[in-house]
Symmetry: C2
Subunit: 216 residues, 2 copies
Amino acid sequence: MTDPADPTEPKTRTRDAGATKARILEAAKREFAKNGLAGARVDVIAEKAKANKRMIYHYFGSKEVLFQTTLENAYIDIRTAEQKLNLGHLEPAAALERLVRFTWEYYLKNPEFITLVNSENLHRAKHVKKSDVLQTYSRRFVAMVNEILVRGVETGVFRPGVDPVQLNITIAAIGYYYLTNRFTGSILFEKDMMAKQALDERLRFNIETILRLVAA
Amino acid sequence: MTDPADPTEPKTRTRDAGATKARILEAAKREFAKNGLAGARVDVIAEKAKANKRMIYHYFGSKEVLFQTTLENAYIDIRTAEQKLNLGHLEPAAALERLVRFTWEYYLKNPEFITLVNSENLHRAKHVKKSDVLQTYSRRFVAMVNEILVRGVETGVFRPGVDPVQLNITIAAIGYYYLTNRFTGSILFEKDMMAKQALDERLRFNIETILRLVAA
DNA sequence: CGATTTCTGCACCATCTGGTTACTTTTCTG
DNA sequence: CAGAAAAGTAACCAGATGGTGCAGAAATCG
């Protein structure tokens, strides 16, 4: 018998599958990013999501599938944001600078992304392999960068022969490495790599690196 | 208490504490690199090392300390190799190229290093924090690169104002990122990133990137 | 209303895992 | 050679962890 004399009456959101699922995914993103696939605890995810562990298995079936879904969402999120940059309307050098800046800021605002990707590579990309949408997104992204390069060569500001995939990798690398290794880096190099000044300086350095790399 | 017979005689010990310890560390390096700190199994390490699990706890006390020792060894190994490069005797541009090449090849030959560092950063460098020798090694390394930069500026081949720490980070980054993300990269970019040609191409690209970055 | 389906959560389990106790075997020293 | 010390082993344990069974509540539908 439930008590009928409940004064607060928490009638709000009694049953919302979509919201629960979203909360689980958000909690999973954080927990997986914080502790890796093996280190993450399903119970912790359930608790953080204010959901029951049973729901995780109801919606996703296993810890593994939950990880895969989380990862897929993370990739789709950054690729979607990249597409919205509208670099085609910018002058080539400005477009490239904007991309470097965006990549850096995205990593800064979404630190989980980097850690999730690291985890996935620890597992030899076994989850990404199962997803086929991601390739499409990547292909579009490479094409976007290639278009900038072509325009730059045409207008004579860029040198010819720069491979767009290599450039993409390098743009990601110089931001990604700095941030993923910020903990060991701060100790070994004896400086706070996350201080505002250090971050600004690194971004400037990265823009310089990329522009010099493609310069005619 | 001194042995009257020759002290360096080969004792043909079937029991060899040093060798066992070394085997454990080698096995630990592989297991931690393959599965991360949380994913690694102490039993597996014992088995791979052809030692008993009890020995691990006898020599190291805990999984955590074993990881820390493994990591410390890995760092000391690469820093020692770097010091042996003798870059001071080379012309500045050649010295830098050699360093880029060395870094790349070290990562390629010692894939465990990258994964161990990733694991350590997942744990916010809590183990590196406890080691104080590593800072000394790093300091010496930065000084080495700085010396190259200074010489290059003096002879007019490098531009002034390049920060040696940023340069170090960048040299590491462009190799590290490519290799640590080779699994997801191979799928998303739809090309075998570990094919010989792809590796050669990446090394060339990296050398170009660094030389252009510092060029006058 | 009442039957059916979808969602929620408590309690529980089988297994795994880091760590330990107790013991045997080999080596070294006096 | 004795016997202490070091090196090695097997069996075991307590707690944690991914995963479930089942009962019941909330929505949906006839």
